[in-house]
């Protein structure tokens, strides 16, 4: 029974890791850039939602606050691409890495300046509620987190496999030059990708803030999510989610069955094992180099 509860709470954590990892992979696949501010974007999304929704702040209705945070983070993502990343297009990877790390710091201190450095919890409809299945008692927030993640990934899957824009985004990530030749507006697609990454960051942030507390350094979770993305094969969206879930599950079980301190080490141990035995990640996208 206890294991089942551990599993559900681990899955719920893993969903947040997975969504942040999804943001990493979305941007990497489309633009071959790594956005190290992804975790901080999640943190910012959480604070925007809290700032809009909590009684102590603007006090808007919950759903309106969520929609506002999603919209705002989409705009932040798109603005980042437009103003910071596009001028760096064609520059070295290192430039982008340093820029996004620095931008993460900016977001962290901006959030601290606006909302303070104390942990905040987001007011939400399922706060404190429990659902009992026989002897198993699960937090309603954890179930909601899992449900929202399933829903969002389902929507993203439909978007990428069914819509013209989604397929064009895949096309541009597989062969950018050919996409140019076919008249696909590659630059606009990069902007839309960053917008999507902002949106998933906002959803992840709302879920994070709804099931625990958030403070400006919550963005460090991005490092764990980065590990999740690598475990999944950095370049595969389902892989990113899977990596997130694995890390989410490993943590509580390591704490329960090994020793308390190991919860922090276990995700990286898994990462190292995966890199040794499956260097391309669990869901590697096998693609022969064409000549």
């Amino acid at each position: 029974m206890e294991d089942l509860q551990l599993m559900v709470s681990g899955l719920a954590n893993g969903c947040v890791y997975g969504l942040v990892a999804l943001g990493f992979v979305l941007i990497y696949k489309a633009t071959e850039q790594v956005n190290f501010a992804q975790g901080d974007m999640m943190m910012l999304g959480a604070f925007v939602a809290i700032g809009l929704g909590n009684e102590s702040h603007a006090g808007l209705p919950f759903w309106l606050a969520c929609a506002g945070a999603v919209f705002a983070m989409g705009a932040v993502g798109m603005a980042m691409e437009r103003t910071l990343l596009r001028p760096l297009f064609g520059q070295s990877q290192i430039a982008v890495v340093i820029l996004t790390i620095a931008f993460g710091f900016v977001l962290r201190f901006a959030a601290g300046a606006i909302w303070g450095h104390d942990p905040l919890v987001m007011d939400n409809p399922v706060a404190g509620a429990h659902v009992a299945f026989g002897q198993v008692v699960l937090g309603a927030d954890e179930i909601a987190v899992i449900a929202v993640t399933v829903l969002l990934t389902g929507l993203l899957f439909l978007f990428f496999s069914r819509t013209k824009l989604g397929i064009a985004m895949q096309a541009a990530s597989q062969n950018q030059l050919a996409a140019y030749y076919m008249g696909i507006p590659v630059k606009r697609i990069h902007g839309i990708t960053w917008m999507l990454a902002g949106v998933t960051a906002a959803v992840a942030g709302i879920l994070f803030a709804a099931k625990g507390s958030v403070d400006p350094s919550a963005g460090f979770l991005g490092i764990k999510a980065f590990a999740a993305a690598v475990i999944g094969g950095f370049g595969s969206l389902p892989g990113a989610l899977l990596g997130g879930l694995i890390i989410g599950l490993v943590e509580p079980f390591a704490a329960r069955y090994v020793a308390a301190g190991y919860a922090q080490i276990a995700p990286y141990a898994v990462l190292i094992l995966v890199l040794i035995f499956r260097p391309h990640g669990l869901v590697a996208q096998v693609r022969g180099k064409k000549l």
Partner: protein, 256 residues
């Protein structure tokens, strides 16, 4: 010659730090096949890339259907009906063949796309069997057909074809060139064809230009070019009759 579908005047273009195109003027009349010949590194591909908007020219003008298109974004140029089929089968490897074709029509919003997929598959029947397969698993020849078919999906008035014969068997090359000729005759699609295989290109072209180190050194109707002694010797590998076997390395090209 004015009123041509594509008019290039005094074009200069850099490929990286190299001035690869040094003042080129050429015309593609509507519905014509024009060959652009030349050795490796002559600047042919750079000319095509500059026309399709992937590179910006340094100087000069490019007019398509009377409108200036130099320095426009590639997607705007595709919407005007000019499609570039790049060298080396640049397909989308993880998308299915059908999705690749649909991406060729990305710039279009009309309802004729399913019909066009049908008619394009009529030209390349082998692709019909592979519609659901991911494009990276096709053979080289099939990928080249797919690249051509995908370009057609934009309903171009003019296609820029970069080395469609590259790395293909002679039989496949013949198949692809016969399709190019049919497209030209049945739909009046203009073609600017870049080829190393001068013989092949001059067989289907109406007019030809020869490039060398960024300049056009020779031009004329395809038939004339084929008869030209320089072309025969330097591009077609012909050996003009001479009792001693003429010493090629002693002769200079007429334009030097």
């Amino acid at each position: 010659m004015s009123g041509a579908l594509l008019e290039i005047r005094h074009l200069e273009s850099y490929y990286g730090p190299v001035l690869a195109v040094r003042g080129i003027s050429l015309d593609v009349p509507a519905g014509a096949i024009v060959a652009l010949l030349g050795a490796n590194g002559a600047g042919k591909t750079t000319v095509l890339k500059t026309i399709s908007g992937v590179l910006n020219p340094d100087k000069g003008t490019v007019r398509f259907a009377g409108e200036p298109i130099a320095r426009k974004e590639p997607d705007a140029i595709v919407r005007q009906g000019l499609v570039h089929v790049p060298e080396g089968r640049e397909i989308f490897p993880l998308l299915s063949v059908a999705q690749n074709l649909a991406m060729g029509a990305y710039s279009r919003t009309d309802r004729g796309i399913p019909d066009d997929i049908e008619s394009v598959l009529g030209y390349f029947p082998i692709l019909r069997e592979r519609l659901a397969q991911s494009a990276g698993t096709l053979s080289g020849g099939q990928q080249q057909m797919l690249a051509l078919a995908r370009g057609l999906m934009a309903r171009p008035k003019l296609m820029l074809l970069d080395e469609p014969s590259l790395g293909l068997s002679p039989l496949l090359v013949r198949g692809i060139f016969s399709v190019i000729r049919r497209l030209n005759q049945e739909h009046g699609i203009g073609v600017l064809l870049v080829e190393q295989n001068a013989n092949l290109a001059l067989d289907i072209a109406d007019f030809g230009y020869v490039m060398e180190t960024g300049r056009i050194v020779l031009d004329g109707p395809a038939e004339t070019l084929k008869q030209s002694r320089d072309i025969q010797e330097f591009y077609l590998g012909g050996n003009p009759d001479s009792p001693r076997g003429e010493r090629r390395w002693k002769r200079r090209k007429s334009w030097r």
